[in-house]
Each structure stands twice: as structure tokens, then as C-alpha cells.
């Protein structure tokens, strides 16, 4: 019965967080909509994405072909000497939403992870190095995740960027907001202790 839907199910199941079951549910829902309005809306949105949406050629943030480099890269009101390096464009969104950072961004588009097929060559380190030299940043903030491979990636970047005349910092790690000592694991707790500051 699902045979005619197979190409759609297959395509949907490749999306992050969508398994075979969910893909089938979505495909069925679209198929039984007589008005076709859902499918039409989705088609138009996907076509729009295919032609208009890209990752900023400078920082990697999601932007449109008409605005490349993106507003984050060109907005003169933003701080121009701070560069925040993240793994993924979605991290840029998250940090922007926090309102805590007003500088420039750079998305690596991955991390050092051979098991995922990502090595140092995939991270576009040359690009990053060139930006730091050409755009005159005084501080590079490594805002990577805190899993093993992200930490290793930060160590790698620190080594690669060390010869450049720029201060390199890493986001502090510590106890999550709303959590307590009793709930924390040894790795987090020792990082929090090392990262303690005077008050």
C-alpha cells in the first residue's frame, strides 16, 4: 500500500530526527489531504529553499542569495573585533537568541570526527585563518560543544591558531543553570573547578 509513497518516505527518513515510522506518518498525512494544500505549501517552500537559501559564504550562517555575506557579517553596529567560532550554523541562531554576543561568527560546519567522515580538511581551517588575519579580530572565542570530539576540535584549533596574533578563548563550562553539585558528573565538576573565578 505504501509502495507509491516510497520515494517520499525515503527522502523524509534521511532528515535528522525522522525515522522510518515518522516518515511514513508524514507521507500518509500528505497523501490523504484531498485539497493538496499541504503538499503545495511544502513544494513551494522547498523550491524557495533550493533557489534562495544558502549558508553565508563568509560565516556560514543561514542567509539568502540576495544577502551574501549575511547581515551578521555586514551589520556595522556589531562589534568587529570579536569572532565567535561555532560548529554548526544552528549554534549561531542559538547564541543570537541569547542576546549575549554582538560580534561576528564563523561556523566550522563540523568537528574532528573520523567516524562521521570529518577530518581537519573538512573544517575549512584555512578560511578561518584567513578571516582572522584579514578582518583583524583581537579575540577568537571557541564556542564549541563539550563532548569529547568537540573538546578535541577545540584543542586542535588552539594549536593551529596559536601562531596568529590573536587571543583565543573557550566558553566556560560548569554546572548547568538550575542544577546542583549533587547532580554533576566528575568531568563537568573538574572543569567547573578549573574554570572558577574570583567574586
Amino acid at each position: 500500500m505504501l509502495e507509491p509513497l516510497e520515494p517520499l518516505i525515503h527522502a523524509l527518513a534521511r532528515l535528522p530526527g525522522i525515522g522510518r515510522r515518522t516518515a511514513e506518518r508524514i507521507a500518509l498525512r500528505l497523501a490523504r489531504d484531498r485539497s493538496r494544500s499541504m503538499a503545495r505549501e511544502l513544494t513551494a517552500a522547498l523550491q524557495g529553499l533550493e533557489t534562495n537559501i544558502i549558508c553565508c559564504s563568509r560565516c556560514g550562517a543561514i542567509t539568502t542569495t540576495a544577502a551574501d555575506p549575511c547581515a551578521l557579517c555586514t551589520d556595522p553596529r556589531r562589534v568587529t573585533d570579536l569572532l565567535c567560532v561555532v560548529e554548526d550554523p544552528s549554534d549561531i541562531e542559538t547564541i543570537e537568541r541569547s542576546g549575549a554576543f554582538r560580534g561576528r561568527y564563523h561556523a566550522l560546519m563540523g568537528k574532528l570526527s573520523p567516524m562521521r567522515g570529518e577530518g581537519s580538511r573538512h573544517l575549512g581551517v584555512e578560511n578561518l585563518r584567513r578571516r582572522i588575519e584579514e578582518e583583524g579580530f583581537t579575540e577568537v572565542i571557541l564556542a564549541l560543544n563539550t563532548d569529547v570530539e568537540s573538546d578535541a576540535t577545540a584543542a586542535f584549533l588552539r594549536e593551529i591558531l596559536a601562531p596568529l596574533d590573536v587571543k583565543i578563548t573557550r566558553l566556560a563550562t560548569g554546572l548547568p543553570a538550575g542544577s546542583g553539585i549533587a547532580y554533576s558528573d566528575p568531568v563537568t565538576l573538574s572543569a567547573a573547578l578549573r574554570g572558577r573565578r574570583p567574586m
Binding site: P114, M115, G117, G119, V148, E149, A155, P176, S179, V187
Partner: protein, 250 residues
């Protein structure tokens, strides 16, 4: 049913906003997959208890149908924090975890492979000679799978490896070193640096890990050895994982 086992984290992936999918190598139950529900909630008992290359005590509910079990409790035994700063060692750990997850089938007990990986990760976490450690580990891994390449004699005629021989040969399909006399009759025999073959024979003949460790190789020799073992792996395991070339070449 609830199972309890020691387990090494081979791979993790997001499952939902707060849950994760984790692939483990367990000591008694081989490779298994579990969901870790609520793993990312701030007060989850799982927070910080598992990450790549950790060895943990794992308690899980078995689900026979879907194949994916559900973790109930996890306590870390060895976090191997050195991988967080020793990025080269981390690349090799990532490759070896990938290798194990490709080679082992789901749910088939492989305690020898578990012990092997646990030891190799400990060794890599010292941060020293990561490439050598990995090459030596590949050799012992082949051994545990029942593939033992021959380096100390000719794999065809059994003639002793001539230490003074300049031109040595290697034939993955024939299982190892091939002497100059036999080489012309072997189709896939490739010229191989004699010093690399001698190091491999030394590693294989070592009676203790410490004895093997004492046999060092230069970066050039490591590249040659990686090439030979890569050919062996391609032929006998039908594998040439991208993770391997990323770890060795970049």
C-alpha cells in the same frame, strides 16, 4: 529483562531534543544499541555519565523486537579525559570505534574484542605515539578475528624472511610477506619496504605489550605500515573505512 554489562561508547547521535541514541560495545553482549531517554535534561542521572570512548557500567532493558534497547542506568568507569586535549589520539580512537562498529554484528558476544578495545583506548589515552599504537592495535585486532598476517617468513613457501633482503614483497590475498623467489608467481604481490615488514614481524612476535611498545617506528615507516595493513584489511575484511584515512592522513 534487565541486563548489566560493562560497555564502551562507540557512537552517539541525537534521538530527540532530550534523548540520545548510543551504540555500545559491551563485554558480554557484543555490540548493542540503546536509547538514553532524557539524557540531556539538566537533572538527568545520565548527564556526564557517558560520552565517546568512555567505559561504563551499563544497566539496560532489553527489547528484542526493534533491536534498540533502553538504558536504565549508566555509571562511568573510565572517562579517558585525555582525548579531550590530545586531538590526534582522539582521531585514532574515533577510527577504531568506527572499525569495531562496522566489523561486529549486533548482539554477538565478543569479550576478546571488548578487552582489546578497552586496552587500546587506555593506551591511546596516554597521548603517546598514537599512530604506532593504532597500527599495532590493528594487528592484534586481525588476530582476534582469526586473520593473522604472516611477516616472519614467506607466506607461500614458508622460507625465512631474509633480514638483508632489500626488495621484499607483500601480498594481501596470500596473507602476508612473499619472498623474492615466490613473488613473480603472485599476481597482487607489491614491493614493500623491508624495514616495515621487519617491524610488523617484531610486533607480532612480541610476548608482551611492553615488548611490542619497545619496537618503535619513524613517521615514514608508520605510513608504510599503514599502507600494508590497509591493503590487508581491504582484502580480508572488505573494509577501507574513510575514518581510517582521516585518522592516518588527515
Amino acid at each position: 529483562m534487565i541486563e548489566k554489562d560493562q560497555a564502551i561508547v562507540l557512537r552517539t547521535a541525537p534521538y530527540s531534543n532530550t534523548s540520545r541514541f548510543v551504540l555500545w560495545l559491551t563485554r558480554e553482549h557484543g555490540r548493542i544499541a540503546t536509547l538514553v531517554k532524557g539524557a540531556l535534561r539538566p537533572k538527568s542521572a545520565f548527564i556526564g555519565q557517558f560520552d565517546l570512548f568512555y567505559t561504563c557500567d551499563l544497566l539496560y532493558y532489553t527489547r528484542n523486537h526493534g533491536g534498540v534497547h533502553v538504558a536504565r542506568e549508566c555509571a562511568l568507569l573510565k572517562p579517558r579525559t585525555a582525548f579531550r586535549t590530545q586531538w590526534r589520539a582522539c582521531l585514532f580512537a574515533s577510527y577504531l570505534a568506527d572499525l569495531v562498529s562496522r566489523v561486529l554484528p549486533d548482539g554477538a558476544p565478543a569479550p576478546a574484542v571488548f578487552d582489546w578495545l578497552d586496552d587500546v583506548l587506555d593506551e591511546l589515552a596516554t597521548g603517546e605515539a598514537a599512530a604506532e599504537t593504532t597500527l599495532h592495535a590493528e594487528l592484534t585486532f586481525f588476530d582476534r578475528l582469526g586473520w593473522r598476517p604472516v611477516f616472519d617468513r614467506c607466506a607461500i613457501c614458508g622460507g625465512p624472511a631474509n633480514q638483508t633482503e632489500r626488495r621484499a614483497f607483500f601480498a594481501a590475498a596470500r596473507g602476508g610477506r612473499v619472498c623474492a623467489m615466490c613473488a613473480p608467481d603472485v599476481r597482487d604481490a607489491q614491493l614493500a619496504p623491508a624495514d616495515a615488514l621487519i617491524i610488523l614481524a617484531g610486533w607480532q612476535g612480541a610476548r608482551t605489550p611492553r615488548e611490542a611498545k619497545a619496537i618503535r617506528c619513524s613517521p615514514r615507516q608508520a605510513r608504510d605500515i599503514a599502507q600494508l595493513l590497509g591493503a590487508f584489511m581491504r582484502h580480508h575484511l572488505d573494509l577501507s573505512p574513510e575514518s581510517r584515512s582521516i585518522a592516518f592522513i588527515g
